[in-house]
């Protein structure tokens, strides 16, 4: 079973050299810490920056320099600023290679729900609907089950959806799964110490298991 750091570490293995990546708030943000040194990856912040650097040292924070989670950040050599329309323009045009974000539910055909719980105060979708509608490759980082113990990998999303047929891969505390183009969660890897049975029990949607499922290497 992985903790949040473990999920972030595993997702970092999916990031390709020479790619532009947008990281959502929460676990996805942690992924940046585990991208191997020397790999050329440029992080996009949808509030108008390519080339997110580390958090600033105390006293060096700049109120004019934040990420989409409103955290103070820094730039790196080669960073560029732009406005929000160009930011979503490059997302919409498919220039961002990979989007990593959290979810409340994912359906077996790749629908994602991550912005609204009926009956609860709705804070808004932010840039999530734009990102999931446009990104070439989307990886979801989330817990396999919710706090009530119910699976978040479903035949169909119960919650209001954020985007249709867009999620390509899911990394949870239990497993790595691909969402197949024809539907279904294909089990790719188990988390250390997790059995296929555990994953089966935690997955409500169609789970596809072919051959031996290797344990992930972190």
């Amino acid at each position: 079973m992985l903790d949040k750091t473990g999920i972030a570490k595993r997702i970092a293995q999916e990031v390709k050299d020479g790619s532009y990546v947008n990281l959502g708030i929460g676990i996805p943000t942690l992924v940046a810490n585990y991208i191997p040194q020397g790999m050329n990856v440029v992080l996009q912040s949808e509030n108008g920056l390519l080339g997110i650097g580390p958090f600033p040292f105390d006293g060096e924070e700049d109120p004019d320099l934040i990420n989409a989670g409103k955290q103070t950040i820094t730039t790196i050599p080669g960073s560029a600023f732009f406005d929000s329309a160009l930011s979503f323009g490059m997302i919409r045009a498919g220039k961002v290679d990979l989007t990593i974000l959290g979810a409340m539910e994912v359906s077996e055909n790749g629908d994602i729900a991550n912005w609204k719980i009926p009956g609860k105060m709705v804070k808004g979708m932010g840039g999530a609907m734009d990102l999931v509608a446009s990104a070439k490759h989307i990886i979801v980082a989330m817990q396999h089950v919710n706090k009530a113990g119910e699976s978040k990998l479903l035949p169909k999303c119960d919650l209001p959806i954020t985007g249709l047929r867009c999620v390509k891969k899911i990394v949870t505390e239990l497993a790595v799964l691909d969402v197949l183009p024809d539907g279904g969660f294909k089990l790719i890897e188990r988390a250390p110490g997790v059995s296929v049975e555990q994953i089966k029990n935690a997955t409500a949607g169609k789970l596809i298991i072919e051959g031996d499922i290797p344990e992930m290497i972190l």
Partner: protein
């Protein structure tokens, strides 16, 4: 073409109840602090406010919400704001939540004279309800309309007397788009310089989009999430 006015109070002349306003800023980064203060003092009400976020309880657009000046917010994310939540749940405040890219592009469309744009954001979701869906190259898009903004309020880093604006780092965000969208656009700047002092290649928004400009004062520039790297 000198567009300088002395301060925010003079800048907001002509505002009226029930107008549509748009505000630059992302969270509390790059918000027009001086204009918001003047709007709070003015007592104008019944407003429709287009802004990516709604400020916090005691800062930004939150100050206007506190005075019950806002009838409707059009935003992508309204964040943590207790008074906002109370008004929303009590039905005093209307909220249109729209995708962030759609918000940005609808503002841009106004500035580019494009009455509508197409975006895939929200297709198949409740955002698509009642909207025209159109397929291009096998992919579905929603048709979204340009905003119609009476007064636009932006904050720039530097500006000149002709209204040319330069933004700084990620405080640029929605500001150029809001600037382009206003029938009347009011820019406040940290540094107002004479025409000719800004490099014409560095200008982010040409003065043709700006109607009034003033030197802002007492910027707080509040940070929402001071996140630091520990020194080794």
């Amino acid at each position: 073409m000198n567009k300088t006015v002395t301060n925010a109070t003079e800048a907001i002349k002509g505002i009226n109840d029930n107008m549509v306003f748009a505000f630059g800023g992302f969270g509390l980064c790059g918000i027009p602090e001086n204009s918001i203060s003047a709007l709070v003092k003015s007592g104008v009400k019944g407003l429709t406010c287009i802004s990516n976020n709604a400020g916090v309880d005691d800062f930004g657009i939150g100050l206007m919400l506190h005075q019950r000046q806002v009838k409707k917010m059009i935003s992508s994310y309204v964040g943590e704001n207790a008074e906002f939540e109370r008004q929303l749940l009590s039905g005093e405040l209307l909220v249109d939540l729209i995708p962030q890219g759609t918000l940005a592009t609808r503002l841009m469309a106004a500035g580019y004279g494009m009455p509508a744009i197409f975006t895939p954001a929200g297709v198949g979701t409740e955002v698509a309800e009642g909207k025209e869906v159109r397929t291009f190259n096998g992919k579905e898009y929603l048709m979204e309309y340009a905003f119609d903004v009476d007064f636009a309020f932006v904050k720039a880093w530097k500006g000149d007397t002709q209204g040319n604006l330069i933004f700084r780092k990620t405080s640029r965000n929605f500001n150029p788009l809001v600037a382009m969208a206003g029938k009347i656009t009011i820019a406040e700047v940290e540094e107002l310089v004479p025409a000719g002092e800004l490099d014409p290649d560095h200008i982010h928004i040409p003065g043709i989009y700006v109607h009034r400009i003033f030197q802002g004062v007492d910027y707080e520039k509040r940070i929402e999430q001071r996140t630091l790297t520990p020194r080794a």
